[in-house]
Symmetry: C2
Subunit: 189 residues, 2 copies
Amino acid sequence: MDTAFKTFIDHFSTNYQLSDSSKAEICNHFSILHLDKKHVLIEENKRHDFAYFVVKGAVRSYYLKDGVEVNTWFALENDMAGSLHNFKDNPSRETLELVESSTLISINLKKIKALMLHNIQIAHFVNAIIEEYAFFLEDKIYFSQMMSSIDKYLILLDKEPQIFQRIPLTYIASYIGISRETLSRLRAK
Amino acid sequence: MDTAFKTFIDHFSTNYQLSDSSKAEICNHFSILHLDKKHVLIEENKRHDFAYFVVKGAVRSYYLKDGVEVNTWFALENDMAGSLHNFKDNPSRETLELVESSTLISINLKKIKALMLHNIQIAHFVNAIIEEYAFFLEDKIYFSQMMSSIDKYLILLDKEPQIFQRIPLTYIASYIGISRETLSRLRAK
DNA sequence: GAATTCATTTGACAAATGTCACAAAATCAT
DNA sequence: ATGATTTTGTGACATTTGTCAAATGAATTC
């Protein structure tokens, strides 16, 4: 099995049993992609049949608010990048765009959903991904309400220092929920 | 089967097949509770083996930020009330407290999780609940970033008018993410 | 490597919101 | 019912943050 496929599968199957044959079935619907910086993976308001796993590179997700981009998350190595709305057959609310030229695993959602229906191991695997996403969202809300802007900046800097080396501050400011000028002033201290 | 049990199960099993015997297995781990206003269902930082479904009444969830309560959600009739952290065997980050004297279904999480392992229908049922929660969290983030305070207030008023009749404005202000004084001033217009 | 585009910083000012203090209104308990 | 508690509203002021404008610095393209 491709090393990248194995990394991905192992990352989300620590709590459940996944047989070799189930792993092989999942991998049938994976492909490796090499795409350039600024490539748009998923467009806002469109249905899309694929989710992605970042092997190497960086992805951002944003939506438009009165013409201004609001960044919702960044995915680096070993992170998922996709839209839960797409998974549920709805149009994506966000645009997913590469911040760096990247190597990705693309995941055929329809095929995986078909497997989930009858293979309980695969159902557990996919649901572990959704659960992890729910935890991520809870954390995001928790920190957005619990912390001042400075604390949000310092915590992000502490927990995800790579982001500051690879993602423009303009995007990070929007992710934290402040203007880029305000972030710049916070950093000046 | 108890009518309340049926309402609960039907609400989360519209997209998947659930046999009568699976339904019966799930219901084995349900109970009906009648509890008074201000009763604490789940305490912050504690592990807890139950989740709840509101048959009649109102629940709020909050955590403490420097001694001040930050309200995260309200559950009314036919809503779930629980902690995803508890479901994953971790301490809850939030306190769940009754805003009104309520009738609830209590759900034994350990028992349901055991059923999920081998019954794919029950796995799909539980995961539908978690998925719905992830959608709820996404919406919450989306609206908190997309809308001005006034718009958040107006949208909440439009979409969930019952909340304003049953939940104190102090809690609602904290849910929207503004001080109670600011909410009071917004309402004055 | 020069030109162009993009990202970041800084200043000046306006707008939104928080905080503190207290008053008014509604609700609860005895 | 009435006193006590909780909830809501309002004023004055401080603080934070946003907005607009411009300058500087960094990166990319041809």
